[in-house]
Symmetry: C2
Subunit: 320 residues, 2 copies
């Protein structure tokens, strides 16, 4: 049988309904799909019902697909029951390798070969997780979301050694159809991309706490009132491209070379060779895609004003 | 003579009108102040005029103080002329220690002792910068902004060994009156707080580029469509407090202890002792200030929806 088109998926299964699995369920319901879920915890069904009721007003504010309903889900009795008729399965089991391997193997044994089996893992490689999938490991793939998955667009998509490249493409297209921003990776990196960047900041924060340099509240305030506002609009690289004035990143690298500023963090930097420097500058120019520093500044400013106004309105009316 | 009240400041001087100095000038004009500026570059006055004209529509959108005007500034002939009548001086010279020392000394020699002299330095300690201020080093202080200073609220305020603590307090109060969010630091940390956190992420990004793991565009997309959206609303610590479900940070630390996940980044982590763990959890609880995980999730979701809608509207109409 042929695999269904990514845009034609109508029924999905969600295995594991903790913070991430419950979030995926809400997102799929908003998109107008039928969802069958399973979780072995005794209170899982009631907890999921509560969570969906809690976030449904948020789904309504974002806009529902025509067929969307908070009731188009059922709780299955076991994994095989949940996944049997699904076009796509999202696994959200606890973050332990042996658990992931076993649950994926059970899903593999209970689904037709054309069903794509995707894992929410935060850091395991599919190469390691798919080893017990005896039947069709070629349709297993990682789709790493960010909490809450019903609001954050990023999904990192990457296969393992046994995964067919076409399955990675199919999965990325499926997420695009689901309103997400898939980042298709060709290499299995520990922690993928975004978690490595998050983890680096987290480590510096822990070092600062450990040595009494700053409190939790100071660290968080420094981000939310400072660079965090920019990172919602431009990534760290393009942000620095704009910090050097009209000459952009090339000027920045001359002035803030980490080899000279190694005292700004507890963490070590790579040597900035001329070759690496050229790649950084070329990458920023590729991302800028012909836009001058001035144009980028204007775009950034318009977006920052919109964001500051939205957040300020929100704080006045009960948001964060 | 007594120092003027921080809320009564009417005339300020801006020394150095590059990216940061020009940004400060626009901010002070929006706040209804008179600004006298000086920069030794031959084209500085014309460039500043252009920059103010460019960002003034942004200032209007944010809302002007009653007396605000894009014309309430003049270009002085030298440093002494610029600072003579100022209640407050913001120095934005190039980021080289000898230049900072010399410029601050010249300002010190040209202002009455009650005038506060503040530096935009990204990383130097005031202890090192104030050594040539023979007259009144006790009124020199760092006010570290983030680009663009007319939009990003954070200003890190910290004194040097010779700075009076009252001057640090005065400066923080001045920034609050100027609509900013000062973060008053009691210790001089290399890179202050936010730059250390930024620098950590930047280093991991450089390592990833260096080893061919990800491109500039992938790194930036991973942040802006992923964790960057959360960091505009909640800092990295409170974000992780919400990732562990109802048990918050304590649960997170059991599951994502960096000592077990050291393969997620090139950077080293501190040992998470029981004592450090307790401090992290206590800090998150202090910041949550009685709000349950569920309340925090609701606040986050409301803010994320507002932010996603604002950014999406912006992209449709020409913003980033």
């Amino acid at each position: 049988m042929e695999r269904i088109e990514p845009t034609a998926v109508q029924q999905v299964a969600v295995i594991g309904t903790g913070v991430i699995g419950a979030g995926w369920t809400a997102h799929f319901l908003r998109q107008g799909l039928d969802v069958v879920v399973y979780d072995p915890a005794p209170d899982a069904e009631a907890a999921l019902r509560t969570k969906i009721a809690e976030v449904w007003p948020i789904m309504e504010q974002l806009g529902l697909m025509p067929e969307a309903s908070p009731d188009r889900w059922r709780f299955a009795n076991h994994v095989a029951d949940a996944v049997a008729a699904a076009h796509f399965v999202q696994e959200n089991a606890p973050e332990r390798l042996a658990v992931k391997q076993t649950v994926l193997a059970e899903i593999d044994a209970s689904t037709p070969p054309e069903t794509v089996i995707s894992s929410s893992t935060s850091g395991y490689a599919m190469t390691d997780m798919q080893i017990l999938c005896w039947h069709h490991p070629e349709r297993t793939v990682v789709s790493h979301p960010f909490n809450p998955p019903y609001l954050i667009p990023l999904v990192e998509v990457v296969g393992g050694k046994q995964t067919e490249p076409a399955v990675v493409d199919w999965t990325a297209d499926f997420w695009t159809a689901m309103g997400k921003k898939p980042l298709k990776m060709t290499k299995e990196l520990p922690g993928f991309i975004a978690n490595r960047l998050q983890e680096a900041m987290w480590r510096e924060a822990l070092h600062m706490l450990h040595s009494g340099m700053a409190t939790i509240e100071e660290i968080d305030a420094a981000i939310t009132t400072g660079p965090g506002l920019r990172w919602a609009i431009m990534g760290p690289m393009l942000t620095f491209h704009l910090a050097g004035g009209a000459q952009g990143m090339a000027h920045m690298l001359d002035h803030f070379n980490p080899n000279e500023f190694d005292h700004w963090t507890f963490l070590s930097a790579p040597q900035i060779t001329e070759e690496l420097k050229s790649r950084i500058v070329a990458g920023c120019e590729a991302e800028a895609d012909g836009r001058s520093i001035q144009q980028l500044e204007q775009e950034r400013d318009i977006a920052l004003v919109a964001l500051l106004k939205a957040l300020s309105h929100c704080r006045e009316t009960g948001g964060a």
